[in-house]
């Protein structure tokens, strides 16, 4: 039984989140027992290779699920409110956009090509605050567009008249207009140029500092993600491998996978050689029992045949047997809810 207080204070508190998909030839374990807490006005960066379940986690948080869901369980507290109990309609009205919004991958193509920017950005606001007058709504639209750096004159333009960077800003403005507690960003800058990328990160930082929004930033671009990161969550094969504050993580990652991932990041300065991670991630259809990284891990030993629990070391958590002796406690046991049916 964890204290209720803790969940109230957090912008986002995720406990034992599971999202499995049903395919004809098996079950894909895309998000496998992930737990973490994100305080207000902080950003967590979710990093990992493609196919590790990052995007699925973003969709699990915002409950944008395809039809072939096999299992969707756990607890998600947003701004102190447990959202998993709500049915889809309640979730749509009470949570999506107003408490958590998503900036999807390839957001440049997420805009409706036949709507002007003003109508496009206004839409989520009208849906959630139907009493708002047109003028008040437009005032809010102008305000958020100004905030993300879209010039006033663009308001009557169509998406095709904007550059990629401008479109990305508009999508961020849409996610922002209902003033949510948490914004989930899925690869927000991967298709953009370096200068535009840096510009977008400046906008995101200002949103965080001035409006107090929390972010879940999903990306494979570790170097650029450090622009926004307060915390880092490393995912591998659907599981959380390490959760740590950014200053500790970038200084010295703990999990062997995190260390190897960081060694593969090209750096502008310094002269360390680059190293890649041999092998490839396991299939999520039938992941190995035991530690899922063991096959590729240079430190693997006998114990890795069993699945490690998540160990807590100070403020950090890591899912690796190497830290059994140094750990303060076990944050969550291996395969946490395999045995549990009821809620605790």
């Amino acid at each position: 039984m964890h204290s209720h207080k803790e969940e109230q204070d957090q912008a986002l508190h995720v406990n034992d989140l599971v999202l499995y998909f049903q395919l004809t030839h098996g079950v894909v374990q895309a998000v496998d027992h992930i737990s973490f807490s994100l305080p207000k006005q902080r950003a967590v960066v979710v990093i990992g290779e493609s196919g590790c379940g990052k995007t699925s986690m973003g969709h699990a948080l915002t409950r944008l699920l395809p039809r072939n869901v096999h299992r969707y369980s756990g607890e998600i507290y947003i701004d102190g409110m447990e959202t998993m109990r709500l049915d889809d309609e309640e979730y749509r009205v009470q949570v999506r956009w107003t408490k958590i919004s998503l900036v999807p991958q390839a957001a440049m193509n997420a805009l409706n090509p036949v709507l002007k920017l003003r109508d496009q950005v206004l839409e989520p606001l009208l849906l959630h605050e139907p009493d708002l007058s047109q003028e008040e709504g437009m005032e809010r639209v102008r305000e958020v567009l100004r905030f993300v750096g879209v010039p006033e004159g663009f308001i009557d333009r169509y998406p095709f008249e904007l550059s990629g960077g401008m479109r990305q800003r508009v999508v961020i403005a849409m996610a922002l207009i209902t003033n949510p507690t948490v914004i989930v960003l899925d690869e927000p800058t991967s298709a953009l140029d370096v200068l535009t990328q840096a510009n977008i990160y400046n906008v995101l930082k200002r949103i965080k500092w001035e409006m107090g929004t929390s972010f879940v930033l999903i990306t494979h671009d570790v170097a650029t993600s450090s622009e926004l990161a307060d915390d880092v969550l490393v995912m591998y094969a659907g599981q959380l491998m390490e959760y740590s504050s950014a200053d500790l993580f970038f200084d010295k990652p703990l999990h062997p996978y995190a260390q190897m991932l960081m060694a593969a990041v090209p750096k502008l300065h310094g002269d360390e050689d680059l190293h890649f991670i041999p092998g490839k991630p396991p299939s999520l259809l039938s992941p190995p029992t035991g530690c899922r990284f063991a096959d590729r891990c240079p430190h693997a030993f006998d114990k890795c045949a069993d699945e490690p629990p998540v160990f807590r070391l100070g403020t950090r958590t890591v899912k690796c047997w190497l830290f059994e002796d140094k750990a303060d406690e076990i944050a969550s046991p291996a395969g946490a809810t395999m045995q549990s049916g009821g809620n605790s």
Binding site: A43, E49, S50, S163, G164, G165, D193, V194, L195, T196, Q197, A198, N199, Y201, N202, K205, R206, H220, D221, V222, A223, T224, S225, S226, E227, L228, A229, D230, S245, A246, D247, F249, F250, D251, M260, L261, M262, A264, V265, P266, K267, L268, H269, G270, D271, D273, L274, H275, F276, I277, K280
Partner: protein
């Protein structure tokens, strides 16, 4: 790796003095004509405007710049896919446009091309064996046994092993990294002298990216290939190229050895580019980055004078906005830039102001 890079570039400098460069780009202009109503002339998109450089045999250069700066047009001109509006591409002393189709075919045999998106570049309905046989058939190698022999050797070179497991697979059955290896194998199978790589790793995962970069570097060193590496990501260039060319709005604005550019950039746009790239450090999250205002200019009517002046923090009024800066050597030998800040005339203007 760094020591190696400097060593080989020194070697290249000597070669440059001794013999002609493998490839010379001379006063190259790639302009696309705009038409109104389909036939009325309505100006040009000046995608590449007066670009000059030499590429010695065995050297690897990188062309960096934002999208829309003309780097892809430059690449197309080098590959002979677009006819330049003016200027010439000279390969081994002969213009590639002099001598008709035969000459162009012969040139195409000497150049390999690595595309950006491996999945899009490989025909989905062909097996790997067929994909790799295609360039050989075009080169006139009809003998099936010889084809197979070369395909197997080239798969081994790009470390898609064992080759027999892959010959009859289709591209969708391979991972992104393996697909990119096949693209590289296809580019190398005719033993070209030069390789054009257009963002070869931008679509790949971080860990695979390093693998492919290392593979390209190994192949380049082993075969003594000349490589033109086109990218917008300066942080990968350091691991691959000996010289960097920075392009902005159709112009080559700065060129120097890689370490020179990274440690001592001269052109204000290069400062901005380097400043915008993050190394993974937690301090990044605590401060805003300084980015020049605005966006790259239209290439139909680029700004007068220096094309970067509307966004430049150091622009000299009355000079940068009227007169185009000449390209000149600054700082170290071999470090060229086109900026008034380092020119006598610019210094006079600044002291007068």
């Amino acid at each position: 790796m760094n020591a190696q890079a400097t060593q080989s570039s020194e070697k290249v400098v000597n070669v440059e003095q001794a013999v002609q460069p493998l490839l010379s780009v001379r006063n190259l202009r790639v302009w696309y004509e705009l038409k109104r109503f389909g036939f009325l002339h309505a100006g040009y998109v000046k995608a590449v405007d007066n670009v000059n450089f030499d590429l010695p045999a065995g050297e690897s250069i990188a062309v960096v710049g934002e999208s829309g700066c003309g780097k892809s047009s430059l690449m197309k001109a080098i590959l002979g896919l677009v006819k330049p509006y003016e200027g010439d591409i000279v390969f081994e002393g002969h213009s590639i446009w002099d001598g008709g189709r035969e000459r162009m075919r012969a040139y195409n045999m000497e150049v390999g091309y690595v595309q950006q998106d491996p999945y899009g570049a490989l025909p989905p309905f062909m097996t790997i064996r067929r994909i790799l046989a295609e360039p050989l058939i075009l080169a006139g190698i009809k003998d099936k046994d010889e084809q197979l022999d070369r395909i197997v050797r080239s798969l081994e070179e790009v470390k898609v092993t064992p080759p027999s497991d892959f010959l009859n697979k289709y591209p969708h059955m391979l991972s992104g990294g393996q697909q990119q290896r096949i693209v590289i194998a296809r580019a190398l199978i005719r033993n070209p002298k030069m390789l054009i790589a257009d963002e070869p790793v931008s679509m790949l995962d971080a860990s695979v990216r390093v693998e492919i970069l290392k593979l390209l570097k190994d192949v380049q060193e082993e075969r003594g290939l000349s490589v033109v590496y086109i990218t917008h990501d300066l942080s990968t260039v350091r691991y691959f190229s000996e010289r960097i060319f920075v392009m902005y709005a159709g112009k080559l604005v700065e060129q120097a050895k890689t370490n020179e550019i990274l440690s001592n950039p001269q052109f204000p746009y290069t400062w901005a580019l380097l400043n915008a790239i993050s190394d993974p450090l937690h301090e990044n999250a605590t401060k805003l980055r300084k980015i020049p205002p605005g966006e790259p200019p239209s290439l139909i009517e680029p700004p007068k004078g220096c094309r970067f002046h509307p966004r430049c923090s150091r622009a000299i009024e009355g000079l940068c906005d009227t007169e185009e800066p000449p390209i000149q050597e600054v700082a170290e030998p071999g470090h060229y830039t086109a900026c008034w800040l380092y020119h006598e005339k610019g210094k006079q203007h600044e002291s007068a102001a």
